[in-house]
Symmetry: C2
Subunit: 337 residues, 2 copies
């Protein structure tokens, strides 16, 4: 079968950014797409996932996966529709999630997950029902180990991962306290997502807010931001607290050295732990998470929200919204209907 | 029974030190000792334990136990001989370990452990067979969870806790790499204690040494020092590494803010953990540790060394040896024969 795709528009990495990535760090070009080889699908990408982790992927500091090479198509998750297939398990018309890159068409053979557009909107499979949701699921449950009645604090609580982490905490019988930037986000976190409280880090003293809303201390701190807020949380731990290090968005564009948590000796005083979590370690359990998150979503216990920016060409500016905190919920780039 | 003890010389805390404690932060005085009340023993203290934790006890920062009050006898572990008893379980002539304070005589009713001077020298019960040894035992085994073949790195490896932690790592079939200050200490750590290697932090680049001696990365880092060396260890972790935070002697006298570990995001990259440990949590298992450490000591698998300073009046200066790194092995103050 020959598919008459002639051109595939793509963002490639032109330079390793210093600080915030700018438009000159990318090249926008187009090239012809070849037909799928044996075992491959050709996917028309509909939504591209924009994630804080992307900042790490374009840095050459040693990390958990190799960096995106200069000149390569930018790595990104996405959801799309199969338009040609020589893959034994996937056929034309199916919707798939995969690491498709910042481009209109992608050839792929593995790491594909079929999703049902009747069960949830497609962008939700990049958010609450996708990698961010599963990151929250495994990070909170496996590493945070919340017990009913625990106080769970989540930073970036209006974001893709944090919003799910706090809702799972509630589902598991915990008290959930969010930290987010601005009154609108805090309202969303409490009224829409059902957190017990949300501290606006732009409005005042986070440590005072934590002391107020966590009178017996923090049992689980799910951290997406690092920096001063991590130190505030360390200052308010309960005995045997668990800190889940999921990310540190406050530090990703730092051009100076990362700010280490000066209050880390609270780990000793409180006999607490701080543990890194990464979704890639749970590949063999994605099915479990997808089923459970899907059931919570279907029953209304888990709410999802996406912030959709339209147009592939807007990728460089849309990415920056993550770091300025402009998005509420999962940020996605819609590039086709 | 009336004991004719007339005077008890004591060090009391006069002021909260800023930076290194100086002689003017203490008052040296004497007072009469009363007879033991019902349930108490009167102990003649023979050796006073000098420990880095003492620096924390005289600070008023919130910690795991209340600070020593201004005007109170300085808190300290010690070993002594019962000279009068109205305690149901202890009789005159026994040797006991307890929290006796920096003084010649102590009245005590609880937290007492009988020790056998025929099985080990008395100061050893303040070191390898005492709190430091048990701190190493529970911290390494319960929190570090070393597996045979693991690479275990220990800072302050010639010190009271570190020397035992590394020897237990060897007993458990691990590779043990120490970090210590100076050639003499490193020689002691390798030749006497049997570590596989020891990095002299005064001689050069610790990170390079770690990369050389831990070619597949650090599986367990047992940290007594904090500061730059903790960052060096974070930069050299193996996947799923466990960092045991036992202390941070480099920071205890800091007058500026504690230096947080700038490389803490290695916890995420390596899916590693950093966990505080405190011996007080294991009070109901001291017997287990004492038995196992005692058996290793008796069989020659566990070597102990004490650095003995003589004379109660030398307490203020002897304490400072911990922070200048002058002692090798457990530092004790001998105050009576």
């Amino acid at each position: 079968m020959r598919v008459m795709v002639t051109l595939n528009r793509q963002y490639r990495l032109a330079a390793r950014p210093v600080g915030l990535p700018s438009r000159t760090d990318w090249t926008f070009g187009e090239e012809a797409v070849r037909d799928p080889a044996d075992g491959e699908v050709l996917v028309k990408v509909l939504y591209v996932s924009l994630d804080p982790a992307m900042r790490g992927w374009i840095s050459d500091a040693p990390s958990y996966i190799p960096p995106v090479a200069i000149g390569a198509v930018m790595r990104a998750g996405g959801v799309g529709r199969v338009v040609a297939s020589r893959h034994p398990k996937h056929s034309v018309g199916e919707h798939l999630v995969g690491t498709f890159g910042v481009q209109e068409y992608a050839l792929a053979s593995e790491g594909l997950r079929r999703v049902d557009p009747a069960a949830a909107p497609l962008p939700t499979y990049l958010g609450a029902l996708g990698m961010p949701g599963m990151t929250a699921y495994f990070g909170l449950l496996d590493t945070g180990k919340p017990k009913p009645g625990d106080t769970v604090v989540v930073s970036a609580a209006a974001g893709a991962v944090g919003s799910v982490a706090g809702q799972i905490a509630k589902i598991k019988g915990c008290r959930a306290v969010g930290i987010a930037g601005g009154e609108a986000k805090c309202d969303y976190v409490v009224r829409e997502l059902g957190f017990d409280a949300c501290i606006d880090y732009k409005a005042g003293d986070v440590r005072r807010g934590l002391k107020q809303h966590c009178p017996s201390g923090i049992d689980v701190y799910f951290d997406n931001v690092g920096g001063a807020i991590l130190d505030d949380a360390l200052a308010c731990l309960a005995m045997h607290a668990r800190i889940v290090i999921c990310g540190a968005i406050s530090q990703y564009n730092a051009t100076a050295a990362v700010k280490g948590p000066a209050n880390y000796l609270a780990l000793l005083v409180k006999r607490a732990s701080m543990t890194g979590t990464l979704i890639l370690d749970y590949a063999d359990r994605y099915g479990e998470a997808a089923r459970e998150l899907g059931a919570w979503f279907a029953s209304g216990k888990l709410k999802a929200r996406e912030d959709v920016v339209t147009g592939l060409d807007n990728f460089p500016e849309a990415l920056l919204m993550l770091f300025s905190g402009e998005n509420t919920g999962k940020l996605v780039l819609k590039i086709a209907d």
